[in-house]
Symmetry: C2
Subunit: 231 residues, 2 copies
């Protein structure tokens, strides 16, 4: 999209703000720039996929990966959620990173620091073999950067057993809360500690598969596991 084609408030570097993506509550926390959205999507590991079954909402956690402006989901062709989405049903994919507990002086102003992304759209089945291979590579690299060269690549049968869906990043917003508590001024003098307890997803020491040969050492990407952008 060129700047000329962009609507008001949107640029090449930002997602357009639409009636569906406009953040209404606490709009000062909204972000629409691609860099912020991409960083959240790349750091988080799990998304929550919302879809409608017989008029009722259903939300399922699942893995995903981003390649450029596309979010990929995958799973068994027997997976009810993926089958529904493959038919082009509207979908909402939400990703949340929890950054801290916000303890205010008042119970009312307790909060959490977080970064979240909400994507609306319709997914389609990836049938192009080259795109499917790229998506499956990205899905492994998303959970563990550096892993792909070591893992046995998917066989033709495994590729056939995997349904990959692509969701374009078009209707997208992010929302971020950070910083200290926001107490009422009248409460500032209360003798109550206030502040933030930071939270992060921390890796532990790798646990080898019991079936491994004795002395098999975990690779560096497992020993020094970290999320992109994460600490």
């Amino acid at each position: 999209m060129s700047l000329d084609e962009a609507g008001p408030g949107s640029t090449d570097d930002a997602y357009p703000v639409t009636p569906q993506t406009r953040v209404r509550r606490r709009a000062q926390r909204a972000r629409y720039d691609r860099a912020t959205v991409h960083a959240i999507l790349d750091e988080a590991l799990v998304c929550h996929v919302g879809f409608v079954v017989e008029g009722e909402p259903c939300v399922i956690p699942t893995a995903y990966a981003r390649v450029g402006e596309t979010l990929y989901l995958h799973g068994s062709p027997a997976n009810r959620m993926l089958r529904s989405l493959a038919e082009g049903l509207p979908v909402c994919v939400t990703v949340t990173l929890l950054d801290g507990i916000v303890l205010a002086r008042s119970a009312f102003h307790h909060s959490m620091n977080y970064r979240s992304v909400v994507v609306f759209g319709r997914a389609h089945v990836v049938s192009d073999e080259a795109e499917k291979a790229r998506a499956m590579h990205a899905l492994v690299e998303h959970v563990c950067s550096g892993r792909s060269p070591d893992a046995r690549p998917p066989s033709e049968q495994e590729l056939a057993q995997t349904l990959v869906l692509a969701l374009p990043l078009a209707q997208v917003s992010a929302k971020i809360r950070n910083g200290p508590p926001l107490d009422d001024e009248a409460d500032h003098a209360l003798p109550v500690w206030a502040g933030v307890i930071p939270l992060r997803l921390a890796p532990g020491a790798p646990q080898g598969d019991p079936l491994l040969a004795a002395g098999s050492a975990p690779p560096v990407y497992a020993r020094r596991y970290r999320r992109p952008g994460g600490s």
Copy 2:
């Protein structure tokens, strides 16, 4: 519900398995017992709330708390999601704890260890003042056990500014994946390290509000923050 009233496969200690809650994919990972469901709900901090707006799904992350067999959500009466749910729309609330990255020898068998809960139902507004006060107490204690006695309780105005919704835990299922990778037997001899990178939500050192009086020390529940059941 007495045992006599319980349907097949359900007991006082478990949620009934219904067409909506029956886990279809990888049913061996399903759990319906209350103890497992409660432990997941009590350990996690954020839920993802799915609802339907003009036929399209919407998934929003938010705080929650469990009291007995009720899940409480809260926020501003101006919050669109809460207003929708207050009308009795069907809702799906999903909670996910991420426990590890599962590195298999084959790309195909890469996975994640997780514990999740999915709750279906309809929420209602909590108008009883005593129940509302209990829910708001639980919402603070859920994010930080031990905090309530220190925080200034909600004023009448703050109570009026808070919409509390109750969602009965009736249509509920949990799903758990744990343990090592499950590679094909033919891959076991591959010279590829396989195993699990454990993940946990780790607290950092409390960061005092810059507006605090000098020398104000964080309380023990902030210095030694941990989730119930968590490490």
